[in-house]
Symmetry: C2
Subunit: 676 residues, 2 copies
Amino acid sequence: MSTQTPAAETPAAETTAPTTDESGALRPAADGYVQPAVDVPALTRLLDGRYAEVRALVRHNLVEHAEILTDAETLSRADYRDRVRDLTVVLAATGQTGMGFPVEFGGGGDVGASIAAFETLAFGDLSVLVKVGVQFGLFGGAIQQLGTERHHERYLRPLITGELLGCFAMTETGHGSNVQAIGTVATYDVATGEFVITTTREDAGKDYIGNAAAHGELAVVFAQLEVGGEGRGVHAFVVPIRVDGEPAPGVRIEDDGLKMGLNGVDNGRLWFDEVRVPRESLLNRFADVTAAGVYESSIENPNRRFFTMLGTLVTGRVSVGAAGISASKVALTIAVKYALQRRQFEVSDDGEEELLLNYGMHQRRLLPLLARTYALHFAQEELSTQLHDVLSGVSDDEQTKRELESRAAGTKALGTWHATRTIQECREACGGAGYLAENRFAALKADTDVFTTFEGDNHVLLQLVAKGLLTDYASEFEDMDQLGMARFVAGLAVETVVEKTRVHQLLERVRDLLPGGDEWDQEAGLLDPEYQLAMLRFREEHMISGAARRLKRGVDQGMPAGAVFSRVQDHVIGAADAHMERLVLEAFVARTRALPEGDQKVALNLLCDLYALSVIEADRAWFMEHGRLSTQRSKAISREVASLCRKVRPLAGDLVDAFGVPTEMLRAAALIGDLA
Amino acid sequence: MSTQTPAAETPAAETTAPTTDESGALRPAADGYVQPAVDVPALTRLLDGRYAEVRALVRHNLVEHAEILTDAETLSRADYRDRVRDLTVVLAATGQTGMGFPVEFGGGGDVGASIAAFETLAFGDLSVLVKVGVQFGLFGGAIQQLGTERHHERYLRPLITGELLGCFAMTETGHGSNVQAIGTVATYDVATGEFVITTTREDAGKDYIGNAAAHGELAVVFAQLEVGGEGRGVHAFVVPIRVDGEPAPGVRIEDDGLKMGLNGVDNGRLWFDEVRVPRESLLNRFADVTAAGVYESSIENPNRRFFTMLGTLVTGRVSVGAAGISASKVALTIAVKYALQRRQFEVSDDGEEELLLNYGMHQRRLLPLLARTYALHFAQEELSTQLHDVLSGVSDDEQTKRELESRAAGTKALGTWHATRTIQECREACGGAGYLAENRFAALKADTDVFTTFEGDNHVLLQLVAKGLLTDYASEFEDMDQLGMARFVAGLAVETVVEKTRVHQLLERVRDLLPGGDEWDQEAGLLDPEYQLAMLRFREEHMISGAARRLKRGVDQGMPAGAVFSRVQDHVIGAADAHMERLVLEAFVARTRALPEGDQKVALNLLCDLYALSVIEADRAWFMEHGRLSTQRSKAISREVASLCRKVRPLAGDLVDAFGVPTEMLRAAALIGDLA
């Protein structure tokens, strides 16, 4: 439970909101509020958006192969892995996993469709999802994004069908987040025209690599390129790791063994002992080595080159964030349905026990998470559209690309943390029954746990977001590490820092909206989106410029840049978090504003208000500390959150139904019975 | 991550605290602070307390049978269950599991020792722990506490050796927390002198019952007693459920199947179809039925009788809370050791990457949890002593018993939520490596997840705590349900409510200490324990009387009691939480104050300050809203928490070593290597 204690204590809370009868139906309240009716199919269409057809295909496939959810529990680990591989190939044949690849090689030629398919697939078994992500997103994506025609011609068609399975071998035991420091080396041998791939230390072995332990034939291996005795930084190579089911010569493979979850994916470790691959194995979109051993690259700066290569990971991050949000939808669907049929304790004289969702505490536990899930859905939708536009070339200037990378990183962090928190709360809200494997929470919790870590550790990703904010996505600074960031900021005048931040303009706008003192407190309605946005914008701007000032001041005072960064780190990460929350709210507000007047708009506005005020409530201490909230208004926000929960309560069943999670993916017959 | 954003932004934070060199060693700071040295063995002795010998025995046994940690991963579920059963019997032979039973039946005659043994056992495989808890705590405890000599003579000796395995069959599929509403019935048949046990509805089957699916021969079954057509409320009966490995006649048994964790425990479901047991099967300590069918009880009021029987569950709650705290110690030991050897990213020019624990964010993530673990340890120690005194008859008046029950309920809630949160944070802090089963987090997370639910759902337990606070543990109100509580409170004048609350006296004291306005803000030191205690006492009192007022006002305004309770529920639960945090801080402060001057006291004072200020910081919005914290002082608290984290940082390794978790229980060789 939260350590935040509720503030609402005035009679207003007990008198102004509409009254709920036993079934949760509302009578019109004194303030004229009339409960909207939710048209579930229409809301599902809205959520599904422009890829409704793709999502329908995936939902159909999920139901068709629903038995994988029980296979996950009954098969041996080895058999489960094989089952997941087989199902991946079957799904590939339906076209749902190849949407993002070029049409000429058998793909769908639509990145947005590919994200929508992946997002929907996350309603089902998550080992299948991650296997698909490894094969088509990471391995396939690396071939497509980092390779050139020779690689596309050779590999894309068989990898899209799943005939050729491969790995994305970047992470090493000794280095996860700091990829630039990996210890695998690829030395060019001009005599033979080959690269020699070598793991230089035991802990430089590739680790946690999907498809490595059992099924992969090839790996895209990231290694420090050395040409003519000169280090050229990290590059990617296609390396055979398995031939006829046995490790290729010079390759040592180890199974990562049992994991907390995702045991249908064969994660493993790879070590290379002078493995020779032809010169053409270098994925040479951004750099190449001639036969004579001359290194050539279109990108001069080695750091920039590295981060450009890493930028191709953006699709993976967008996908994982989407999957986290989908997993949250599954958990909430089960927990809300359970709370709509489970009764506990009598609270009136009619002798019947009360429905769980009629308890205030239960509403407080689940409904803000429901609102946040909707908010993240729309933020994710906007991000997917941006990704689609950048990768399709609709908009691909450098600034847009960097902003996309930042937004993908931040949304991934928010979406996956949300999944961890939501699934945990939903499990607890289902009591002991939630602990049984047949009720899905066991798998949801175990499988999603690593989402906060893979495709970039969430804290490191928020640092990336902060770097962009602090440096205004300046091209010359995009490749800075933490040390560089601290020094860069320290080298500027404070005014320049604030000037450089994108949100400087916002600051002006916020100043107009928040004329200082408690004027807003007295005048503005809590349910005015402009007020909510102004609050989140003010917090973001204040935190970014504050972090910049602290970095600068520390260095100016003579502290080592590392020590300064360490001390300001939570502030820096908090600023990135504030930035992301603002983007999420903007996306949600924009989406609801664009709707025609009607019940759907009323319902989504309730959720949007609940999301916005929950965010402000959670950080109300900060707003009070910074003069943006009086103590009276802070209490009023807590009361409004409780009131919004009561208004959302009668809609809750419809709101989870609208997610469109197939009944078969809920299982949980014992928990939700007929409501499933 | 927390949605709370840090407030510290003033130069003070960057200048006053001591400077850390790369190894984390501190130089004396400008303010004269000198880092204490931690004598690890001495601190372990302090933590182990008066049961050091018992704990040594359990640690020895854990190491002796450490292979169970790998068996859990490699054996089939059926074999793992058998292995856990066999190990339970082996442990029983060493005496460690029977410490709480009377000496005359082969027990140790020391309840405190029994809790200490259980607490220490929680460093190891948690299926073993729960199997031990089911057999000796729940089943054995029910026989001992609810039965009389005839049951003790017959069952205690074989159950203490583990020769006779049994179940505690209370929870039903349809009713968990609301035991009074269960649907199993025991009808007395005067003609044969037998009770007839019947499951009246499919969802009245006993569920999640440990030892039911495979190993149990007997079950203590809770059922509605009916004598001569009259319902007498819930009573407990000894019922054979399995004969020669097969279900006893009339008993249907179903396996609960795969669970999120604890798969070494054979949880199952039981249905009874007119199962006949002799009259002597009634556990008749508090009530009996004569052969002629006359119902007799020493406790007149049926509700009171029920809650007296339930009061015997207190040992189980004390044990589960202790286990949660122990599991947190294991997780923190691994995560802190990992952070003391894992390096990531360069932050200075020496070319070496930085240790994780030197990052401010990493300190913020782990060290307040470390401080809270110490705080809960001492609170738990005080609770165990109280339990020992009550069960040994040292102090057993009704008021003391009720306060013990309340405190056990609240500490269980805090300890198990702490485990969930700590294990999750530690797993994330260990990155992808934390996801591998060999590194313990998988089992820790999955096994402890249900701790927040079993032996009482945490929210329901906090409501129990609140009920005690609101009714001053008045004997005539102890048996009230939620509806009764709301009505009771509504029936009083507000002054009476405040009068009745135990904390009324505290209010006076707090008023003296907090003379109003911001006087404290200007004068008192944040590190003064009297200030910290006054803050937590004020919050507690204010929330309890506020909740009482809201309950009363709602009913007075004519709202149905159920609706009022629903709205005030989060406030009620928040008040209970505030009460518990105050008790925890009092225990920690008392323990450190009693220490002789020296480094150990300095180190524990750092942790106590960090705990207290973290609690205040987490709820600083509430304190500001209620005029107990200025915005300036609120920011100062955040800065002080960060500063305390930096001071605890160099001690962190020693502080986790002092928990005395055997190296073999850490596994995690890949994570912590030589530091294990």
